[in-house]
């Protein structure tokens, strides 16, 4: 066997990996290798499985009405909760408000996130990119509740905005606890998610393609419309899907910036579970929300194909 020179050393990372591999060989012998993939996704499958169990539980309680005399769920199943929810004007309003809110938030967020992500990808100056990234991530560190509270301070009746308006002689306005305030708060909350989901899709478009469109006679507007937007479609759909589902099911922003007058479905569900303690009605509402979200995602996949989210190669 050739002698190893005294000064020959493997990188630390290699030796560390050797140790881990030796250990792994003890725990999970090599002949089990064909099942390694399954082993790795088992925890995730378990988590999803637990969620399904929970959903079955919810489905069960959605079929039991609350006995107002004993405050216990009924023994037998009925669709009374669903009938009640669908017949109620209040819940119809809440559902419509949530759906419209999700649609508005998605549209506004994508419209604002696209130029932001584009600038982030295309800027030639590293400091501009850094500044854009820091501005994007800063709200992440603060958390949703504190952020919403921040808007209360800024937009309140004696908040910064109204103070500034009074300086130029405008009477204080009610900027909070209305629908626009909720949408505003949601867009602000969703923007970082949308930008981060769009960046990879935009970065995948070669800058040369845009230069080519220009040399072929397209101004920037037409280049964006005919070339950048279609090529960024996977990112736009992915971001739209995430924003739509997150805003459809959002709780904190409508609760805090809506001030109880602008409830979304999640707030209504919360009220049923934790205020009126009508588990059955709450479960029915929750199931309908899950159904609405699933239909939305299913429709997107049906129209654009799962491949549009850059999953499973081309097409």
């Amino acid at each position: 066997m050739p002698e190893t020179p005294a000064d020959f050393r493997y990188p630390l990372r290699w030796r560390l990996m050797d140790g881990i591999e030796a250990l792994a060989d003890r725990i999970w012998p090599r002949r089990l290798a064909p099942w390694t993939g399954w082993l790795l996704i088992t925890p995730a499958l378990l988590l999803v499985g637990l969620l399904v169990l929970g959903l079955i539980q919810i489905a069960d309680s959605s079929l039991r009405t609350l006995d107002t005399a004993t405050f216990l769920p009924s023994e037998d199943w009925s669709l009374a909760n669903f009938e009640k929810a669908l017949a109620s004007r209040v819940y119809l309003t809440v559902a419509w408000r949530s759906l419209l809110g999700a649609a508005l938030t998605t549209f506004l967020t994508l419209a604002l996130a696209f130029p932001y992500a584009y600038a982030l990808v295309r800027t030639r100056r590293p400091w501009v990119r850094k500044a854009l990234l820091i501005t994007l991530f800063l709200p992440f560190f603060i958390g949703q509740v504190v952020r919403a509270y921040g808007w209360l301070i800024i937009l309140g009746n004696s908040g910064m905005v109204n103070e500034a308006l009074s300086l130029v002689g405008v009477a204080p306005m009610r900027l909070l606890f209305n629908y626009p305030a909720v949408i505003f708060g949601m867009v602000q909350y969703m923007l970082p998610f949308a930008v981060l989901l769009m960046v990879p899709a935009l970065a995948a478009i070669p800058a040369e393609t845009e230069t080519a469109a220009g040399s072929l006679g397209a101004n920037w507007l037409r280049t964006t419309w005919h070339v950048v937007l279609p090529m960024a479609k996977p990112g736009l759909i992915g971001a739209g899907l995430v924003v739509a589902t997150l805003s459809l099911t959002d709780f904190a922003v409508p609760a805090m910036l809506g001030g109880g007058s602008q409830d979304f479905i999640a707030n209504a569900i919360y009220d049923q579970f934790f205020r009126t303690a009508d588990q059955g009605l709450g479960s029915a509402l929750a199931l309908m929300l899950v159904a609405a979200g699933s239909v939305l995602v299913g429709l997107v996949f049906l129209v654009f194909g799962a491949g549009t989210l850059s999953m499973g190669g081309r097409r």
Partner: protein, 363 residues
């Protein structure tokens, strides 16, 4: 003025510098003029400034100093999308979400051509690049060569005054590259469009061009026809970049070049006085070996140190002890002769007109 217009060069580059502020200038004092309908290739190694020069002609970058005129007007006088310049990009930059037809129709649509004329025009240009019937294919369904053809059709369909080619053939395999070189030449001759091509492939430059500019370190080394570029290189750099040359260092002599006390026959290729330090360049295909060497102006004894078989020819590495250096020699049609063995002693020679002698200060 209108009468003069047709006479003026299609492209004028006048004293152009490009300084990115990162050390050496990318382009230094570039000046040339190109007549309408000509096919010019800018040839140089990577980092020679050839792509920067092309990007300035395309108007993507403004020169630090100097002036570029396209059809008599400054290149950056109009916005990029209003210029009449077709460009084929290095990575083609086709639109993957559109069909071939849509890709080729795109510039016509953007330039607001009459929609009724567009389909016929697109079909005509697809025929020109021999892609008739491929109009409804998607880009990813085409082979590399077919994608090249779409890019050419797209750059030409709006009948630009100038066609720019930014190394579009660099990524192709050799056979396809040579096929596309001939296609570029055919299409350019058919349309008569003024064309500027950028490449590092000397064979491509010789094959496709009416004229060649060789660049190195940001400076234009020589601007002439392919034949002149090959026969009369302006300096040793051009001699080494076009074809395969061997170099001999010595002092200029009345007969040619004094190397290691041996007076070699050669001709001066620049302003040079006897006794000056000089560098001689001799092409591998003009250096003779064996019986063919005996009748040459300079005949020396050589020893073969290595042989490389290249198919249609052999390359010999021959050491010349008398000169203290070696030369490379191409020997064609090797099937006819038994190749010389490694280590064999052979006659090596060349004629005076084939050893070009440059002042040694030239790179």
């Amino acid at each position: 003025m209108a009468a003069v217009r047709s006479e003026q060069p299609a492209v004028v580059v006048q004293g152009v510098d490009m300084d990115f502020g990162t050390g050496a200038m990318a382009v230094k004092g570039a000046s040339f003029a190109l007549e309408p309908g000509r096919f010019l290739t800018i040839l140089g190694p990577s980092g020679s400034g050839k792509t920067t020069l092309l990007r300035m002609i395309a108007g993507f970058q403004a020169p630090t100093r100097g002036e570029i005129l396209i059809g008599g007007r400054p290149a950056d006088a109009v916005a990029p999308h209003r210029r009449s310049i077709g460009m084929v990009f290095q990575k083609l930059a086709l639109f993957p979400h559109m069909t071939v037809n849509a890709n080729v129709a795109f510039p016509l649509k953007m330039r607001r051509h009459d929609p009724r004329t567009i389909p016929a025009r697109v079909a005509r240009y697809l025929d020109l690049v021999r892609l008739g019937g491929y109009g409804n294919r998607r880009i990813h369904e085409l082979s590399g060569g077919q994608q090249q053809r779409v890019a050419i059709a797209r750059a030409l369909v709006f009948e630009p005054d100038l066609l720019l080619l930014d190394e579009p053939l660099a990524a192709l395999d050799r056979k396809l590259r040579e096929e596309m070189q001939l296609e570029f030449r055919r299409i350019q001759k058919e349309l008569g469009v003024t064309t500027i091509n950028v490449t590092h492939d000397q064979r491509e430059a010789l094959v496709v061009s009416d004229e060649i500019i060789v660049m190195d370190h940001g400076e234009i080394q020589q601007h002439t026809s392919p034949v002149d570029m090959y026969r009369s290189p302006a300096n040793p750099f051009v001699a080494s970049f076009i074809g395969v040359s061997s170099f001999l260092e010595g002092l200029s002599s009345p007969r040619g070049l004094m190397v290691n006390g041996v007076d070699c026959a050669g001709v001066a290729a620049g302003a040079i006085l006897p006794g000056m330090p000089a560098r001689g360049a001799i092409r591998a295909e003009q250096t003779r070996i064996g019986a063919a060497a005996e009748a040459c102006d300079t005949v020396l004894e050589g020893r073969i140190t290595d042989t490389i078989f290249e198919g249609e020819r052999l390359m010999y590495f021959v050491d010349l002890p008398a000169l203290g250096t070696g030369v490379r020699i191409y020997h064609h049609d090797p099937a006819e002769h038994a190749p010389f063995e490694k280590g064999a002693t052979v006659s090596t020679g060349w004629n005076a007109r084939d050893l070009l002698i440059f002042p040694a200060k030239d790179r």
